[in-house]
Structures are given as C-alpha cells and as structure tokens.
Amino acid sequence: MFLHALQEHFGFISKDAVEWTASKLGLQPINVHELVTFYPMFRQEPLGRHQIKVCRTLSCALAGAHQVRTFFCKRVGLDPHKHGPQTTSDGHYTVEFVECLASCGTAPVVMVNETFHEQVTVEKAEQILAGCRAT
C-alpha cells in the first residue's frame, strides 16, 4: 500500500522512496528494493508522456507483437534488445511489453496511455506514433 501510494503520488518509486519506506517498516532498503524490482507495475523511473504498452502474451506474440515492439523502439530511438520498460531521453515515449490486454481475437494489440489499438501492423504503428506526435 505504501509503495502504491508513493507511486501514485510521485509517478514512480525513487531510490529515496525505497529507503524511506524501509526505514518506516524497520527493514533494510534491499528488502524493499527486491519487491519493487520484482513487480513490473512498480516503476523505478518516471514514465514517458506516451506510454506504449505492447502485449506479448501468446496470441499477440504469434501475431507479431515482437516486430511491433521492435518497430516502436527503433522509431523512437530505444534499444530493442534491452529488457524491461525503456523511456526516451526527452521523456516523450516509454515502450514496454506487457502481459495479456484481453483482446486476443484482435491480436496484436497495443495500448498507448488509455487508448486501445487492435491488429497493429507496422503501418498502423507508424500512424499511432504520428498521433502521439500530434498531441
């Protein structure tokens, strides 16, 4: 609850926040750090303005989710070989894989912030990015 509240307030959980939480709970910071790094919903860095979540669960993976994520990464200047969420240095984009977004029939699916995109091809991804740039 602590950590969720902290993330809600600051947008991410900083190193200071981990240390503060540990001291409040009478733990060593490594114990809290273990937890924060274990759960992907906890963010250790501020997110980009456009958070691009690519589903990689089975249907989407089979329908080309990896190619879609690679495309996004390359287009915004991120390393597609890197693991975990990545944010561009200008803070515009965060690209990451997520688990099932519950739309397997229209795979591959992508969520940008709260907007849902279905059957995303490379061409469609290009349009999504254009949409992001427009806002």
């Binding site: 190193k15 981990v18 240390e19 733990l27 060593q28 910071p29 490594i30 114990n31 750090h33 273990e34 790094t37 274990f38 693991h83 975990g84």
Partner: protein, 562 residues
C-alpha cells in the same frame, strides 16, 4: 519425551536398498533438534546427495533443487496398518506425480523429513534424471568461463557437472546477460552471470553476520543478486560469503586471479589475530601464503572467520622480516656459535638480575621452555596484554592469541603485564642488568630505548624489526606462526594446535628450537626434542593439561580449565 531419549531415538529406513538406522531428530543450523531430513539421513549412511543451497550452518532455503531424490513410504491400509507384500515385506508407495502416477516425483532432500519405513533412492534412474535436468537448467545462462574463473577447481558446478552433467549443451538460444564485475564492497567482487541464486550469501549475511545487505532483484531469468544501489556490502564477515558461494559468483578481491587453487598446499592452522583462535586453512605455494580460509570447529568458530583476521597474513612475506642472526655483540656467524655466546652471557648473570618479557603471541611450548629458562636464571618474567575491540560474533577484545597459554605456563600472572612496571623500575635502578625479550617491542610498553641501553645484556628474538630489536646485543630471528607448529589456548580455554605451512627464511628458526638449545647450554636436562615431545612433557607438568597429548588434540583441540 526427555531430551536424551529424543537424541538417541532412531528410525529405521532404507537408503539405496540398504537398511539403516538414523536419529529421528538432528541439530539444525542453530543446533536445535529438528526432524532428520533425507539429506542428513543419507549423509549418516555415507551417501552424499548433491546440493548447492543447503548449508548445515544456514537456514534451509530449498531453492536450488539439486538435492531432489526419489523416495517411497510404506502404504497404509484403512486401519492405519502397513499393507504387506506376499513375502511379508511392507508395500512401498513411491513418490509420483499426482496427475501422472507413472512419473516419479522427487522431493528435496534438504527439507523433507524422514519417516519410519521410508525408502530413499539416491541412485535410482529417476533421481539421476532429476539431477541432470536441474543441473542443465542451472547451466542455461551460466557463462561457462571456467578457464578464467577463480572458483575453478573447487566449484560445485564443475564437480556435479562431472557426475551429472552432459558433454554438450542443448541450449541454442541466446543467454541472458547479467552484470559482471559488480563491486559489491571493499573486499567482494560479484559476477552475476555465474550466480545460481542459491541465496547462501543472502542468508549468511542476514542470519549469521546480522547485516541484511544482500537480496535478489528483478525476477525470472533476470533474477540478480545485488546490494541496495549505492550501499556497500561491508561488514567484518563478508569474505565468508566467498567461501560458501558454491560457484564463482562471489570472489575475494584479495585472492582474485592470484593463483589457481589446485596449485595451493593446504595446512591446518589457527588465526592469530585475536584470542578467539579461529581454525583456518592456510593455502600456500612455494613458501608464499595466498589465502586463509576458516576451518570448521563448532567449539570455536563454527565455519566462519572475520575479514580482518583472514587478510592479516601479508606481513609474513614482508621484505624487512628479520632473517639474519644479529645484534651488536654477535661474533659468531652460526646458530651454534651464537647460542653459545648468549648462554655464556646468561651464565655470568647473577640470579635476580635477569628479567624476561615474553609474548602472548608465542606458543605454549615456547613459553614452557622460556619459563624453564626463567626458573633456571632466577628471572622475573611477564607478558604484554594487547586489548582492542571485540564483537558479538567471533572477534575477541583480547588481541593476543595465547594469553591463556601464557597464564597456564606461568610466564605471567593471571593479569598480563602486572610486573612490567616493576621490571622497568629494576632496569632504571640498575637491579636488573639482563633482559630477554621475545616478540615484543618493549619500548612501547614502558621500557625506553635509553633504559635498554643501560643493560649489560639484551637478548631479543623477533620476526619484524622494531626499536627493541635495533638495540639488541643478540638478535635471534624467529618464525611467524605459519612457519612453525605449536599450540595456543584461546580466550575460552580451547587448547588447539597448528601446523607448519611455510619454511622459515634464511637464518630464522622456530623459537622452540633455540630455546631448547639454550636451556641445554645452561645445563638443564631437556628430554624433549620436538614440539610434540615438548607438549607431552608440558602436559605432564601442568595440572590443567593433565591427560592430554599432542596427538589427542586432533584437528579441533580440547577444552582446558583456566
């Protein structure tokens, strides 16, 4: 049930088709009795179950899965009585997958308690298959960099690969890469790619050292051992994690890349940095010490030692070690001649004008002969206390390794250093004309250089130069503990012996040799000719040591009354 009955109560089980009786309860990592596990039972029966995360001195984690074994338990009828085969033997239900009764299922030996009539199959095809599978999985992301790994030669991954591994890898995908050369703290370097996540180090530092500094971050195949970012893994026991790391993940910065372990000669010895006397193994090659490691002794140090003691060996190889017979009055150039000159000088000293300052860093055997010399010369003798800071685990506040030995041999009183002021006064007033000093710089303990210069005779034995050795009329170069054998009595009265790891350099000799020689030259009978003989003779004379012999001390020593 009374404790004694629990201790002796045995359970009959079968291991590898062999009937064995093993204790029902055995001590856990804290020494508390707990139900005996399959792994312990097999060890009792002389069958080793391979394991990584299990360590007898750490809480059980059960995460490496290497100790999986197939087992079976007697089948019970509805009347809770065993169902029997036609030949009268109990029917055994082997462990199987619940949804696939044809497939054997193992249980981890380290955390599964035995029960009466249980059968353990540590060598069955199913057990072997499980081990092979676990090992293969542990090696999937391992870098296999054995040629440049410090652990090579003493690595459990290598050992078990030899027994249960496959010659080729089936893994064609890309390995996960993790941090390498992680500077975990001032003495520890971590290679996360080699780590198999057994958590021995995490448990050690949390539950033994009391410094909850390590943990696993991230998850899945990215699971990584780490300290909190920006915090150093730095307590006085960190290097024990290198010992217990079953692979080459945690390495000692001091030992890293210094020597291949298979070239090292191992000698059972003692740490001399404080009065605890942790049992150690000295690893050396060609008269050079490369590392100290703790040696298990539950009466003293369990399986651990402190970092400060472990790294306190470099002085042995110092360039300025005293290795030549010397002193301003020495005429001879051999020990025989030198000893004769010293004996001559001592013989002419009037009784009551001689004082001896011994060191509680000397062995019991040396102090025993030194005390004989003191008696022979009618000399006052004392030793020098060395007090520092202790901790709650192993470090003693007494920085002398053998204060109790000095007390027992009578070279000093119950309080070390009580007579020092008297000896200093004697020198000042001129009543003490001869001083024998062993292994101490008396100029730092109330006897100034100027006072030493007033003496008729100053005989000094030491291993490193200091103000006192520079003023010696006769300087007799001695040995570091690693260069000789002997025994110490620790702060709790544990009498322990240590063996010689290195040859003394140049003229230097074990002190006991020239002490016995000197005593002979002074006309005293001296039946013993060796360290062992000296100990046995001493044990007959000192009541606290009654009944002990050098060989009866074994590797872990004996406790004596102080």
């Amino acid at each position: 049930m009374p404790l004694a009955a629990t201790l002796v109560e045995k359970i009959r089980i079968q291991i590898d088709g062999r009937d064995v009786e093993v204790p029902k309860m055995m001590p856990d990592w804290q020494g508390k009795l707990q139900p005996t596990t399959m792994l312990q039972a097999c060890q009792q029966a002389g069958v080793e179950i391979p394991h990584y995360c299990y360590h007898p001195k750490l809480p059980i984690a059960g995460n490496c899965r290497m100790c999986l074994v197939e087992f079976g338990t007697p089948m019970m009828g509805p009347d809770r009585k065993p169902i029997l085969n036609e030949d009268g033997t109990p029917k055994i239900a082997k462990s199987v997958l619940p949804y696939e009764p044809g497939t054997p299922r193992g249980a981890i030996g380290c955390a599964t308690a035995i029960s009466p009539g249980m059968e353990i199959y540590p060598n069955s095809p199913a057990t072997k298959q499980m081990r092979e599978a676990v090992l293969e999985s542990l090696l999937i992301n391992h870098p296999l960099d054995c040629p440049i790994c410090d652990q090579a030669g003493e690595c459990k991954l290598q050992e078990y690969s030899m027994q249960h591994g496959q010659a080729t890898s089936r893994f064609v995908e890309a390995k996960v890469h993790k941090p390498k050369q992680v500077d975990l703290g001032p003495r520890i370097m971590l290679d996360d790619e080699r780590c198999i996540l057994c958590s021995r180090c995490v448990r050690f530092t949390r539950d033994i050292a009391g410094d909850d500094a390590l943990g696993f971050v991230n998850r899945g195949s990215y699971n990584t051992l780490a300290a909190f970012p920006g915090r150093e893994f730095d307590n006085n026991y960190t290097l024990n994690t290198v010992d217990i790391c079953p692979v080459g993940a945690l390495t000692s910065k001091d030992f890293r890349f210094q020597m291949r372990v298979w070239f090292l000669r191992e000698t059972k010895s003692l740490c001399t940095s404080c009065g605890t006397g942790c049992n150690v193994v000295v690893s050396s090659r060609e008269e050079k010490v490369y590392r100290l490691e703790p040696r298990e002794n539950d009466a003293v140090n369990s399986s651990w030692m402190c970092d400060a003691g472990r790294l306190n060996y470099k002085w042995i190889g110092r360039e300025d070690r005293l290795t030549r017979l010397g002193g301003s009055r020495l005429k001879a150039c051999t020990w025989t001649g030198g000893a004769r000159e010293v004996a001559e000088g001592l013989r002419t000293a009037r009784p009551g004008t001689v004082a001896i300052i011994a060191s509680a860093r000397q062995t019991n055997e040396e102090l025993y002969w030194l005390k004989k010399i003191a008696t022979r010369l009618g000399a006052e003798s004392d030793s020098i206390p060395r007090v520092g800071e202790g901790d709650r685990l192993l470090v003693s506040a007494d920085k002398n390794p053998n204060s109790n030995g000095a007390r027992l041999t009578g070279i000093c009183g119950p309080l070390l250093g009580m007579k020092l002021a008297g000896i200093a006064d004697g020198i000042r007033s001129g009543s003490i004309r001869t001083l024998i000093v062993f292994g101490e710089d008396v100029t730092r303990h109330g006897i100034s250089a100027e006072m030493l210069q007033r003496l008729d005779l100053l005989v000094v034995s030491d291993i490193l130069p200091n103000q006192t050795t520079r003023l010696a009329h006769y300087l007799l170069p001695g040995c570091a503990p690693a260069e000789k054998m002997g025994s110490f009595v620790n702060v709790n009265g544990r009498l322990q012996k240590f063996l010689k790891a290195l040859e003394p350099r140049e003229d230097a000799r074990p002190e006991i040799e020239f002490l016995m020689e000197l005593l002979g030259l002074l006309g005293a009978p001296q039946p013993a000719r060796s360290v062992e003989g000296s100990f046995n003779q001493m044990a007959k004379e000192i009541p606290a040591l009654a009944g002990l012999t050098w060989s009866s001390l074994g590797d872990t020593g004996a406790t004596v009354q102080i």
